[in-house]
Every structure is written in C-alpha cells, then in structure tokens.
C-alpha cells in the first residue's frame, strides 16, 4: 500500500479516532485486498510505510460486500458499481474478505 496514503490514513485515525472510521475497499484481486486490509488492521506487512508496526485495527469492508450494497441507494449503487460488479470476480473478492474476517 502506498506509503503516502498510509501516512494520510494514520493522520485521519489520530484526528477522528478509529471507532468513527470504516474502510471500504474497491480492489479486485485477492492479494491486493489482503495486503491493504492487513496494513490497515495489523500494520504494513512490508515494513516500509508509516503504518509499519502500527495496529490501527480499522474495520474493513468491501464495496462488493452485501452489507454495503444493502445500505446504499440502489440507483446510486447500480450507477457507480453495477457494471464493475458484473465484470469483476466477485467470488474472489468475497473469498478474500471471508479470509480477512477469519471465516472458513
């Protein structure tokens, strides 16, 4: 994950507190989802950015999670994500998110 963005997110957590914040990812591949989620929960696994060794413990959702879709305006969701939802490998995304949450 981009070190510059790690620094900005760290500042946001300092400013708002982790309980106020939720991360929503848009990445499509397993590795990217895993690395980003790990960086924002347990710290930068590459130990290069400002989040190296910093456990933010932020809740991480994915834009393709049913949980997100259900809460959004259906028209807005269709307009912004509908086409991508059809072309992306949603199965891989759901699998990655299950793994992150420690599910089976």
């Amino acid at each position: 994950m981009d070190p510059e963005n790690q620094g900005k997110i760290k500042s946001l957590v300092d400013e708002h507190g982790p309980e106020e914040l939720v991360v929503v990812l848009g990445a499509a591949d397993l590795e990217s989802i895993e690395v980003t989620a790990e960086t924002l929960t347990a710290g930068d696994p590459a130990y290069v950015g400002p989040l190296a060794g910093v456990q933010l413990g932020l809740p991480v959702l994915h834009i393709l999670d049913e949980e997100v879709k259900e809460q959004a305006d259906p028209d807005v969701y269709d307009e912004q994500v509908g086409l991508l939802e059809m072309t992306l490998d949603t199965g891989a995304v759901h699998e990655a998110m299950r793994k992150i949450r420690g599910g089976p």
Partner: protein, 42 residues
Amino acid sequence: MRLAGKKVIALGERDGVPGPAIAEVVRSAGAVPVFVETECFV
C-alpha cells in the same frame, strides 16, 4: 456494520472499483467520505 454516520476511507483501485465510485455509494448510505483515493496495486 452500520455505515450511516460513519466516516469512510474509500480506498479504490484502478483495476477494480475507483475511490470516487465508493465515495458516492457510501454517501448514499448516510456515511461521510473523509479520504478518497484510487490506488494502483503492483
């Protein structure tokens, strides 16, 4: 998790769903995007 009232870090990706699209969606759910970015994962 309820999104309404939360501050959202919308971390999109060039090969997936971009940050601004995530921001629009969470805004429609009553959340406030405070950081919107589209990363390029390599």
